[in-house]
């Protein structure tokens, strides 16, 4: 399996939209969508933890050729906090309760749309990264600097 490609990001965006999945890109993949120049391996998606949203996500993922067994689909529908899927055309992590963010609704209110991709606000991305593993936390100073740059430039945009 190769790296996550833009075309695949479009496919997951469109499939999630078709199935009405409430999701937000989070983690480094979210920061990259907002313009942060860095590298990562996986797409991290924060999903609203409701059975209906879990069912919609399973349907969308299956449509994208993710091979999900019955038990695995049930784990997603139940909204297990952290789900790692490597049985599809690209790797994806589904996160139902990210550390540092109280409720999906709060993050949704602050989210940014980038070419139709729903992305967590950088403040939420940073809040979660600050609770993460050592390697992730090492990149925080640069991510915080990017936040300053991004906020300034967002303010300038019409």
């Amino acid at each position: 399996m190769g790296a996550f490609e833009y075309r695949q990001a479009e496919e997951i965006r469109d499939a999630f939209d078709r199935h009405g999945v409430r999701y937000l890109f989070i983690g480094k993949s979210g920061a990259i969508l907002l313009g942060f120049p860095d590298t990562t391996q996986d797409a991290d998606l924060f999903l609203d933890k409701t059975p209906a949203n879990g069912r919609a996500a399973v349907a969308a993922l299956r449509q994208l050729a993710f091979a999900l067994l019955v038990d695995e689909a049930a784990d997603i529908e139940r909204g297990k906090d952290f789900v790692q899927i490597k049985s599809g055309p690209f790797d994806v992590d589904l996160i139902f309760s990210p550390d540092g963010i109280e409720r999906f609704e709060d993050a949704w209110r602050r989210h940014i749309d980038v070419e139709g991709f729903r992305v967590c606000h950088l403040d939420d991305i940073i809040a979660r990264e600050a609770t993460g593993r050592a390697e992730v936390r090492e990149s925080l100073p640069r991510l915080r600097a990017f936040r300053e740059y991004w906020l300034r430039n967002s303010a300038k945009s019409p």
Binding site: I32, I85, P141, N153
Partner: protein, 81 residues
């Protein structure tokens, strides 16, 4: 943010103490279309153990972190601080 908290940067000074190299990187990224940013950003390297199962689900993030600590080689960087 002070210069002492930065990593991999050697100069400060332009916009409110953001290292100049970083500003240049942010500006270069902003000029690239999203599809190109993707091509530069997403990479794939094999991660032993981590990549060896098609599916894993954890009840809590703490369970996931514990699993990483107990099962992944430390050099992968998934350990705790």
């Amino acid at each position: 943010m002070g210069a002492d908290s930065t990593r991999g940067a050697t100069s400060t000074g332009s916009r409110n103490d953001i290292p100049r190299e970083w500003i240049e990187e942010f500006e270069a990224a902003a000029r690239r279309p999203l599809a190109k940013r993707f091509r530069y950003a997403f990479i794939k390297t094999y991660k032993p153990v981590m990549d060896d199962a098609p599916f894993r689900a954890f009840d809590t993030t703490a369970d996931y972190r514990r699993w990483c600590e107990e099962n992944l080689p430390s050099w992968l960087g998934y350990g705790r601080v």
